[in-house]
């Protein structure tokens, strides 16, 4: 083994990270090379200086309260750990998409109830008198061509303001698209 190759391996050898086969070859070289064995000696001396260092000891009182302090701070700060079992049973259902779906269903239910209890004005049979342009309801007719489409309207009595929700249909003013038309 040449010195250049040996020098590249000395550190790993000193740290016990050199494979056994390479260690034997290096040891052989070191026995006959004062320069490389001097390098190993240098590493040993330096290491002995550093290895002897210890962090200053801590006041025993501080150590005694150390773990209690950790727990107190961990509990006090936000983001307290939730035990795994507790978390496993928690509402993972609150996925955003599911939450939106639940909100939509709730909204449909509310509107259906409004229709059921006549909160929303429905055109009556005797209510045939022509309306002025301002009085004309926004939603006159709606035909849903597919089941996924729906429309909801809210127009309080004696109030010119109406709120209309339209879901899942193509709107073509005045033209029957076959899927849904708002006039």
């Amino acid at each position: 083994m040449k010195c250049t190759r040996a020098l590249r391996r000395i550190q790993a050898y000193f740290d016990g990270e050199l494979p056994p086969g390479e260690s034997t070859a290096l040891e052989e070289h070191l026995r006959g090379c004062p320069s490389c064995s001097g390098e190993l000696e240098r590493l040993r001396d330096l290491s002995s200086l550093v290895k002897g260092l210890r962090a200053p000891s801590v006041n025993p009182e501080l150590w005694d309260n150390y773990s209690a302090g950790v727990l107190r701070k961990a509990r006090a700060a936000p983001g307290r750990r939730i035990p795994v079992r507790e978390r496993a049973g928690s509402l993972r259902l609150l996925h955003p998409r599911l939450a939106y779906a639940a909100a939509a269903i709730f909204l449909v239910f509310i509107v259906a109830m409004m229709y059921h209890f006549n909160v929303v004005r429905r055109p009556a049979a005797g209510d045939a008198a022509p309306l002025t342009a301002q009085q004309r309801p926004i939603v006159e007719r709606f035909e849903a061509g597919d089941l996924a489409s729906s429309v909801m309207a809210f127009a309080p009595e004696n109030d010119p303001v109406a709120i209309v929700w339209v879901f899942g249909c193509r709107i073509e003013n005045g033209q029957d698209s076959g899927e849904g038309t708002i006039l």
Partner: protein, 193 residues
């Protein structure tokens, strides 16, 4: 018979705090020691080590057990120290040493060299100088040196903590030792560094 780290972690996951306290008692010195040599003063090291345990407490459910608890703690402590050093550098505040309590009972440092004039006891001043010299190393070099020489970790473990390859660990360690030797040459006269 004391419970293994894994058993204690499992108990912690069930929401019990006593096993966690046992884990803290088991590893507090390791966390404190690593933080001390990386940041350079005891008060900050204590704070950082406590912060590391708080992080662990909140993230116990993420511990997969691929590496040991000690390695995980080292990694978190190391990251907190690096954050701390970055912040300190930004603030351009000077490193200071504020020893808490009395100085540690440090074992005598022996040198292996036969012709070494410092064979046997090395004075406390020398240890302080070595500590100061380590402090002068760049953070990346200092961390691998401390993890190898003081924490006695393998190249693979150091690579896992620092987040680099074992080749990089070897290279950094080589440069750290070389630079430390240069600094100490002027301080520890007669030592073969």
């Amino acid at each position: 018979m004391s419970a293994s780290d894994r058993e204690l972690i499992e108990a912690c996951r069930e929401g019990r705090d006593a096993p966690f306290e046992e884990l803290v008692d088991r590893y507090k010195m390791k966390a404190y020691s690593l933080a001390y040599f990386l940041v350079g003063n005891a008060a900050d090291a204590l704070d950082i080590s406590q912060e590391a345990f708080i992080k662990i407490y909140r993230n116990l459910h993420r511990f997969r057990g691929k590496s040991g608890f000690g390695t995980w703690l080292h990694r978190i402590t190391y990251n907190l120290c690096m954050d701390f050093l970055r912040l300190r550098k930004r603030r351009a505040s000077l490193s200071y040493r504020d020893e808490i309590g009395k100085p540690g009972e440090e074992p005598a440092i022996e040198s292996s060299g036969k012709s070494n004039p410092l064979k046997g006891l090395v004075k406390k001043e020398t240890r302080e100088m070595v500590r100061g010299a380590i402090d002068r190393l760049p953070a990346k070099l200092k961390s691998v040196l401390v993890l190898r020489e003081i924490e006695d970790l393998s190249y693979g473990e150091i690579a896992g903590i620092v987040g680099c390859s074992t080749g990089t660990v070897m290279s950094r360690l080589h440069h750290a030792r070389k630079r430390l030797g240069k600094i100490l040459k002027t301080v520890v006269k007669g030592q073969h560094l």
